[in-house]
Amino acid sequence: MNELVIPRAARALADLRFPAHSIAGLAGTSLKPEHLLSILADDTQSGFFEAHAENYMGAGGPPHHSLALIRRDYPVSLHGVCMSIGGPQSLDKTHLARFKALIDRYEPALVSEHLAWSTHNTTYFNDLLPLPYTAETLARVADHIDQVQEVIRRPILLENPSTYVVFPQSTMSETDFIRRLVRRTGCGLLLDINNVFVSATNHGYSALTYLADFPLDHIGEIHLAGHAKQADDEGELLLIDSHDGPVADAVWILFEIVIGQCGPIPTLVEWDSAIPDWPILKAEAVAAQAILDRHSQILMSGRANAVR
């Protein structure tokens, strides 16, 4: 009797773990509670979902129930927003422990965080704030990434920021800074193409030059999003990384270029404010998927030709 019971109990435990859905070559969308019922009723959905880690750091309740339902059926990417990796002060160990617990619980396909900071002393500012790019900040940020990766026991994808100001004390470019972080920590990269376009416009450089300098080989995920337009003190265009509308045409074009070079990388459409009905957000992801699929076919036929 016992011989039969024990394996069954062991199997039941194994069944508690989530299925290993592959995220390769997929487009996805940010997971929003207002879309949950539509997603669960939508049997044509095949992309992945990205959850903002902090929204699921409560002890229990409906948020965890929803994420577990989604994680059962789809690949999930876990996106940390407020680790404050780019800040001068030590990481919040309590927050890092919560982050690890969430990763252990949901076994996400991808884990990412930002090259930015949001906490200073004890105040949480709820924004992704910029940092100077110097040898000193490089060492500090690399230490923070090492610390996160040691605790969660896997590499993270680090996202390039959108910025509005510069630090005259910076001694290297953002792409240099990012490349050196990759070399020192072994982290991967989350290339946010909207952030590239926003920052390039705001700082008066070319988005293509930035991408040419970016370590494309280390990209594990791409973000696309909408932005808003304002003016700076000189009356010139200042783009705001607002995530409140559809992806801009210029960003789609840059996306095609990146995918043409890198192949089909998991790509997320972010829409965090003025959130539309599910079919509208889904249509953005379907558009991204079409580009990924086209380049996947080009790659496949290229390989077939090479074999022949």
């Binding site: 309740g61 200042l238 705001i240």
Partner: protein
């Protein structure tokens, strides 16, 4: 030599780009931080204001999301002005925004322009408790069978374990009626209630439930939550109000899912 180096390092940490960048974020009177500029000699004023705006507006939005009935009562403009004062005076200290706003109800009670709505702070207290219950740990509530397993003669000495979602809000105003009428999108009809209302907030499953406690009910449950025995909680409730209905309160306590288990007395 080493100690000098360490001291310099320490001072360097205290005065960092973050300590220069942050003071003006929540204070529009302060000058721009000296560490930033626009690119190619451009000004940084409107550029830095993007961060000021992101911080302030997103935190006001966080309060609006936690306190929707309060916002509906005051109107959006009044609420956002009130929330802006609170965000600037008491910004969050945790990156978990669903934890923000525990001090907001007390702020509302002292807020000069809200003095005509003395019940508004209690409505906000119910909303804050609602969100606590929403994110609380999942636990199975105590069943009627669980309670009836205790021999009647031992019941008075029993102690209950509180469910993680359980909260009590006592109000000198009809705060639950006002909360309930404004929490939904339906038009608000005349609120007839005028008596004080004590609220019990629980989440036995995935739905948060707000109940109106009968007379003496809040004292009864507060004693149980504090770890007092069922007998002493009942005595305290009778002392508070001679009309306290013990059987109905025990039934309500089970039905609401306010507790998870019962331990029989020695």
């Amino acid at each position: 030599m080493q100690s000098v180096d360490r001291q310099i390092h320490f001072l360097g940490n205290r005065r960092s780009y973050a300590s220069d960048f942050t003071p003006a974020l929540l204070d529009p009177e302060r000058p721009l931080p000296s560490v930033v500029s626009g690119p190619n000699g451009k000004a940084a004023g409107k550029r830095y204001n993007v961060y000021r705006n992101n911080v302030t507006v997103s935190l006001i939005n966080a309060l609006a999301a936690t306190f929707p009935a309060t916002q509906r009562i005051t109107g959006v403009d009044f609420f956002r002005a009130m929330a802006r004062f609170h965000v600037r005076a008491t910004p969050p200290t945790s990156p978990l925004l669903f934890e923000y706003g525990h001090e907001f109800p007390t702020f509302i009670e002292r807020y000069e322009y809200a003095q005509a709505m003395p019940w508004l702070g209690d409505v906000a207290r119910i909303e804050r408790a609602w969100l606590d219950a929403y994110h609380a740990a999942d636990e199975t509530p105590l069943s009627p069978q669980g309670l009836s397993s205790i021999p009647p003669e031992r019941l008075a000495e029993s102690i209950l374990t509180t469910h993680p979602a359980t909260r009590i809000v006592c109000s000198g105003f009809p705060a639950i009626s006002i909360f309930a009428a404004n929490r939904k999108d339906n038009p608000v009809s005349q609120i007839e209630a005028s008596e004080p209302e004590d609220a019990l907030i629980t989440r036995p499953g995935f739905e948060v439930v707000v109940r109106h406690l009968p007379l003496g009910g809040a004292v009864f449950l507060s004693h149980l939550i504090a770890g007092k025995t069922l007998g002493s909680a009942a005595s305290a409730a009778f002392e508070e109000n001679s009309q306290f209905d013990l059987p109905a309160s025990i039934a309500g306590m089970i039905e609401s899912g306010a507790f998870t288990s019962v331990t029989q007395g020695e």
